[in-house]
């Protein structure tokens, strides 16, 4: 069965770009525009195998979201990747401490994205 990836980014352009790369590679893609929406989706029964999230978002940012996601039942163990920029090294570590599995550096090329996902998502 296709693995489900939840993409969280406030930029519709970014979501669109990630979604097209992931869908092409055969993933089921769910999207949310901020952390709160992502949490709502999870509570509504969306069960991702992986979350890709931006850090800087309105309403609820990525770091806050990671903490909240990890506190949800059934959401403790799937990998979460943060989307960071070159300069945000501190955020990457902070993300790790909050329960993220790793990070990707924007702009992410389609092949890099798939390589990393393959690396951290068993069965992808």
């Amino acid at each position: 069965m296709a693995k489900t990836i939840l993409v969280v980014d406030d930029s519709v352009t970014m979501v669109m770009s990630l979604k097209s790369s992931l869908s092409l590679a055969g993933f089921q893609v769910e999207t949310a525009n901020n952390g709160q929406q992502a949490i709502d989706k999870l509570k509504a029964g969306v069960k991702p195998d992986l979350i890709l999230t931006d850090i800087n978002m309105p309403v609820m940012g990525g770091l806050e979201m990671i903490g909240k996601v990890r506190a949800l039942p059934g959401c403790r163990f799937f990998p979460i990747l943060t989307l960071t920029t070159e300069s945000e090294t501190a955020k990457r570590d902070e993300g790790r401490n909050l329960g993220a599995t790793g990070w990707l550096v924007k702009p992410v090329s389609g092949s890099d994205l798939l390589k990393v996902i393959k690396q951290i998502l068993p069965g992808a």
Partner: protein, 821 residues
């Protein structure tokens, strides 16, 4: 154009506008941390997006902007007007680039220079020396000292021999020690998977990183394993592979000497049994002298697993844990059977497991272990697939049996959360879901519904014809019935489409902060802009046609209304003038007020000027009051600039404003108090697509009168008409209403016809705040229709605001009440 690019442009524009607005808000609240964070986020996201395409000019400028804002955010530099100016310029530049991309799908090479200049100007505000943040901790690259020398000696002899062969073939091997942190599962790490995915993996093993606790105390969510791996991958590949867990990994280049077999470091079988082999390529790929030994190691390991299962089942310290133990053993055995490809054994174990679970006794599994394990061990030892199950506390990958423990467990342990998984799927469709739709699509819908509304109007005529012309009453009735259904649906549809077209006035209001800032700075005035109720909605066309008049008015207020700080101080007013733009919905109209607390308009000056320009005659000059005088500024040919202010230039004739507003059936009224300020009030219909029109008959012709103008219809007996001076009037509802014949107004010579009771039909209309009775011959129905402006030769007829097509194909002229009255 590529849809992603279209999306990018549309989003970039939204973001740029937002950034502009936020920068202006910052001026009033330079220390608002929330605002600066928001600004940073917007620029950051915009930059990130631009990185998806190759627009280096844009990315470079935005990057500089982001860095600059980052410093403001971190308090390293202070927010200043200069900084805002430069950022605003940069954002304008980005908007220009967007326009370039929109038209040519690329950025012109000539822009590179501007981009460099823009970047320079932003970077110029940053402190001179900016050290890069220290790079993240590198993977521990220290050379292995004697104490740290990897315990390669623990490796089984055959494996060492195989690895040594790789070394001799010139491959550089690396030894990896990967000790995941205990709570790594909570970061979504999968150490086992990660270890197995290691590039160039030649050999790998796992062992407990600390003494395993007794089963009762074992925490399955705590990782107590460490992995040792030998790989032929390069250091760079490994750094890349383990980049998320650098601090948990130690990589040491293998010195071939460590692998050489000596008597003293011969493998201790006990150690091998305690270690789970996770990759064992050499023994499989190269049959060698070590093959027999590999087989023995393997068998020993498998035997150990089975022995452990038996022990687990025999444990009898705590009856509550029995079910869990049975499940765990069952899972291990099933996985072993599957790994050996033995489906029969798998189903046997499954059956035994189910039985054991239902009875709560472990006897069946034990029995199976005793009787059938030998067969499974034999097939496992011979099987070529490496073991995929790790009996220790590693998260199992894709295994069906493990989730009951790891997934359901936590859910049950926190029932207080009240989160019902899977039962609220319908919730996923909740929450705001906005679609961005191309404007042209909505316009098309609008046109179609317009046509539908008009063509449905043909049905009543058809019904009438069926009855009168063909004498089929039955059919006529049926057509009427159908008509009422279609009519209702069309109405609802029209309403729905109108809702889609509704926009908030904020789309025009958001231009004002920048406009006001720029103009007031140029004029040296201090102005505080207050925007109220920006969320008020109106039809897209209304909003769009409102933009220009509003900008004219705001410019006028800034230029001519508000005084300079010196003058304001001299007059005892606060130095900062206030310009308020307020929107509100009142019934089916949108009202926009532009209020300034400037010097107001002097009616005497206006009157004088109007007289000089010949707009009013002497008698009017005497007669009109201040309010009427002020409204003279809407008259064409009265240059407001010359009248109200000595400031030259910029004054835009208010007549332009009025005609623009009236074109969309709006009204504009001005109130002004000398020295106190001016209020301009624009009232507009919520929508202008479909006009409700009342049809009246006069001298055998039909005319439409917009329902906006209609107050009521009355019939007045002829004898109750009064003649006051030269004109007719009647007393209606206790007040005197002047009456005029529509025929007279349109230059038709016929007199109004009375009905059989000798009553005249009077349509009370409202025009410019006054109520007037129109004498007509008769009233007809009211209908909704799409009004088309008169064009070409007819466009000069100011008495009519437009024409419309009726259901029977005839043309109805719509009267412009304001003009004819």
């Amino acid at each position: 154009m590529n849809p992603l690019l279209v999306q990018f442009l549309s989003e970039s524009r939204d973001f740029s506008q937002d950034i502009g607005q936020k920068l202006l808000q910052m001026e009033d609240a330079p220390s608002d941390q929330g605002l600066i964070n928001e600004l940073f986020r917007l620029v950051h996201t915009l930059k990130g997006n631009s990185g998806l395409f190759t627009f280096p000019e844009m990315t470079r400028v935005l990057h500089a902007g982001e860095d600059l804002l980052g410093m403001v955010r971190d308090g390293r530099i202070a927010y200043s007007r200069e900084l805002a100016d430069r950022l605003l310029n940069a954002i304008d530049f980005v908007m220009e680039l967007c326009a370039d991309i929109e038209s040519t799908e690329r950025i012109d090479a000539s822009r590179a220079k501007d981009a460099a200049r823009m970047t320079e100007s932003l970077r110029g505000l940053m402190p001179a020396v900016e050290c890069e943040a220290p790079a993240s901790a590198r993977i521990n690259a220290a050379a292995a000292t004697a104490e740290e020398m990897p315990t390669l000696a623990e490796l089984p002899g055959a494996t060492r021999e195989e690895l040594l062969r790789h070394c001799r073939a010139g491959e550089a091997l690396n030894w990896i020690s990967y000790a995941p942190v205990h709570d790594c599962f909570f970061q979504g790490d999968d150490p086992f998977f990660c270890a197995r995915q290691t590039p160039g993996l030649l050999w790998g093993g796992a062992r407990p990183s600390e003494a395993l606790p007794s089963l009762a105390e074992l925490d399955t969510y705590r990782c107590v394993l460490e992995f040792h791996l030998v790989t032929s991958a390069s250091r760079e590949e490994l750094d890349e592979h383990f980049r998320y867990v650098t601090e948990q990994v130690r990589i040491v280049a293998v010195n071939p000497q460590w692998l050489e077999l000596t008597e003293s470091n011969h493998a201790d079988p006990h150690c091998i049994a305690g270690r789970s082999v996770i990759a064992n390529a050499p023994a499989q790929t190269a049959p060698s002298s070590g093959a027999g030994e590999a087989w023995r190691e393997r068998t020993a390991a498998i035997n150990a697993i089975f022995a452990a299962q038996q022990q687990i089942l025999m444990l009898d310290d705590h009856p509550d844990w029995r079910a869990g133990r049975i499940r765990a053993v069952g899972a291990v055995l099933v996985n072993l059977a599957r790994s050996a490809g033995d489906q029969v054994a798998a189903s046997e174990i499954q059956a035994a497991l189910t039985e054991c679970l239902s009875t709560g006794r472990n006897s069946l599994l034990l029995l199976w272990l005793e009787t059938s394990k030998a067969h499974l061990i034999a097939s496992l030892s011979g099987a070529s697939a490496p073991l995929s199950t790790n009996p220790a506390a590693t998260r199992s990958n894709g295994s069906e049996e493990a989730p009951p423990a790891s997934e359901v467990g936590p859910a049950q342990s926190t029932p207080g959360d009240g989160i019902k998984f899977g039962r609220r799927a319908e919730d996923s469709s909740a929450g705001p879901r906005n679609l961005k739709v191309d404007q042209a699509k909505i316009d098309r819908l609008m046109n179609l519904i317009g046509e539908l509304v008009v063509s449905k109007n043909a049905l009543p005529y058809l019904a009438q014809r069926a009855e009168t012309q063909f004498g089929v009453r039955e059919l006529s009735r049926e057509i009427k019935g159908e008509y009422s259904v279609i009519n209702r649906i069309a109405d609802e549809m029209q309403d729905a489409i109108m809702q889609v077209r509704m926009m908030t006035v904020s789309s025009i209001f958001q231009r004002f902060p920048r406009l006001v800032r720029d103009i007031s700075r140029k004029l040296g005035k201090e102005v505080q802009l207050v925007l109220e109720d920006e969320q008020t909605e109106a039809d897209k066309n209304i909003i769009e046609s409102l933009a220009d008049p509003l900008i004219h008015i705001v410019r006028n207020s800034l230029d001519h209304g508000l005084e300079t700080p010196e003058i304001r101080r001299a007059r005892g007013k606060p130095e900062t003038g206030t310009l308020t733009i307020r929107a509100a919905q009142q019934a089916d109209r949108v009202v926009i007020e532009i209020i300034d607390d400037g010097k107001g308009i002097d009616p005497a000056v206006i009157k004088q000027k109007a007289y000089e320009k010949g707009l009013i005659d002497e008698s009017t000059l005497e007669r009109i009051d201040d309010r009427e005088a002020i409204n003279l500024i809407f008259a064409a040919g009265l240059s407001t600039a010359a009248v109200i202010s000595d400031l030259s230039g910029r004054g835009v004739g208010m007549d332009v404003v009025r005609s623009a507003v009236e074109k969309i059936n709006g009204t504009v009224v001005i109130h002004s108090e000398l020295g106190m300020g001016t209020t301009i009030r624009i009232s507009l219909p919520l929508s202008m697509a479909v006009t409700q029109v009342m049809i009246v008959e006069s001298d055998g012709q039909l005319f439409g009168i917009p329902m906006d103008n209609v107050v009521e219809t009355v019939r007045v007996p002829k004898r109750e008409l009064r003649k006051i001076k030269q004109s007719l009037a009647a007393v209606l509802r206790g007040r005197i209403v002047p009456l005029k014949s529509l025929n007279t107004m349109l230059g038709i010579s016929a007199t109004p016809l009375a009905n059989s009771d000798d009553e005249l039909a009077v349509l009370l209309v409202q025009a410019g705040g006054e109520i007037l009775g129109l004498l007509v011959d008769g009233f007809r129905e009211t209908i909704g229709l799409i009004q088309k402006p008169l064009s070409g030769f007819l466009s000069g007829l100011s008495a009519y605001s437009g024409s419309a097509l009726m259901g029977d194909g005839s043309v109805l002229m719509i009267l412009n009440i304001r003009e004819i009255v």
